[in-house]
Amino acid sequence: MIKFVNVNKWFGHTHVLKNINLEISKGEVIVICGPSGGGKSTLIRTINKIEPIQQGEIVVDGISLANSKTDVTAIRAEIGMVFQHFNLYPHKTALENIMLAPMRVRGLNKKQAKERALRLMERVGLADKSDMYPIQLSGGEQQRVAIARSLAMEPKIMLFDEPTSALDPELISEVLDVMTSLAQEGITMVIITHEMGFAQRVADRVVFIDKGEILEVEKPSDIFVNPKHERTMEFMSKILHIPLSTNKK
């Protein structure tokens, strides 16, 4: 579904992605973790070309993003993205936020778009908040609307860029619950998160990135309990608040 081949990216002189090679198959749920500034966000943003790359190739659903003939806008319509700061449109109600792209990109009429939006609001548990503006919603509610907005395009891939990092602790679970149910439906998901319990439950594989390099790609059961790389171990023990040790030493 998504394939990175020798991907390199620089911000000025800073080498932010170093020789990334990764293949994600259809229906897989991938969790990306690693220290901040390590390139997680940049990596996920190259998938829908919000961030362009300088070297290598990214293939999404069989189409190369590097090809100049590729209609990137059309590919973006197939990839949903959820942001750390929700990025809901503040001048539109929750329902209007969800309806915009289906109407303007997919060509749905207002009635169809509204039906779809209401269905999605129900699905994320916010049926009664349809006519509220983002400012009237809590962070967790805003993020669930943002997820609904992405789902309204019926995407093949969903990208989550630290979806719970900006939320109060007691609001995190309502967002994770929605994401868990999505994962069970078989949509391809790439998630940046530090919620390791969640990763353990839903991820098929966990990717550990540091300083622009993929250091480990493992099943969650392996990477948490038995990380191969020293950096991974250090990171995991800090984030899980438990001392871990590698086999060597």
Binding site: N48, E78, I79, M81, F83, L100, P134, R149, S150
Partner: protein, 223 residues
């Protein structure tokens, strides 16, 4: 005098609408990825903002017909409504430079995440502006934009310099024909103040109407 009022309102309304449309275009140009467009927008603003409006009135009335092919220029000079047309052109260009700068600052103040969200759902560039960026920009810059429009309204009085028969010109005519300048000027002043106050009230009403929107836009910025 009634005709003067009508002409003043005509010039004010038409130039406001045109400069809002053109100003949006120039603001978007200046925000473009394409360098020549950015430069063109910048040059436009610098030229029209830094030269007095009165100069542009005189320019479009006296000079512009001269630099056109002579047949066309003569026709313009003979056209009895040309002073009004020249006024509209000059004030539109003048006002556009300010409007575009107000909109540009508003556009720049919208968090990049808004565009990213629009991009990620597959909206095209035009759609991003149309549905996401510009509606927020207009709500945000409502107060300075309103002030600019009041300013533009008062600027119509400059058009008397090129004999456009607007209110100020009519007042002067009455003064020179009947010597009842004080009465005429008083009425004109009351009219200017009255219309400007109404404009101000409309802006406040609009701000109230979009209250939720505006406060949320400014709040999201501070996040």
């Amino acid at each position: 005098m009634i005709t003067g009022v009508k002409i003043t309102l005509l010039i004010a309304v038409v130039t406001s609408i045109l400069s809002l449309a053109l100003g949006t275009l120039v603001a978007v140009m200046r925000n473009s990825r394409i360098r020549p467009l950015r430069i063109a927008g910048r040059v436009y603003v610098e030229i029209f903002r830094n030269i007095p409006g009165l100069f542009w009135l005189l320019f479009f009335y006296f000079v512009f017909p001269e630099i056109l092919p002579s047949g066309l220029g003569d026709k313009l000079n003979a056209y009895i409504y040309y002073p009004i047309v020249a006024s509209i052109i000059a004030l539109t260009f003048d006002n556009t430079s300010y409007v575009s700068d107000i909109l540009r600052s508003g556009l720049r103040g919208i968090p990049p995440g808004q565009r990213e969200a629009a991009v990620s759902t597959g909206l095209s560039r035009v759609q991003q502006y149309q549905y996401v960026l510009l509606p927020q920009t207009f709500r945000k810059v409502l107060p300075p934009l309103g002030t600019r429009m009041i300013h533009n309204f008062k600027n119509t009085s400059l058009c008397m310099a090129i004999t456009a028969p607007e209110l100020m010109w009519a007042t002067q005519q009455i003064e020179s024909l009947t010597f009842r300048g004080l009465e005429a000027t008083t009425i004109a002043t009351v009219f200017y103040v009255g219309v400007a106050l109404c404009l101000g009230a409309v802006i406040i009403l609009l701000e109230k109407h979009y209250k939720i929107d505006i406060s949320s836009i400014t709040q999201m910025e501070t996040e």
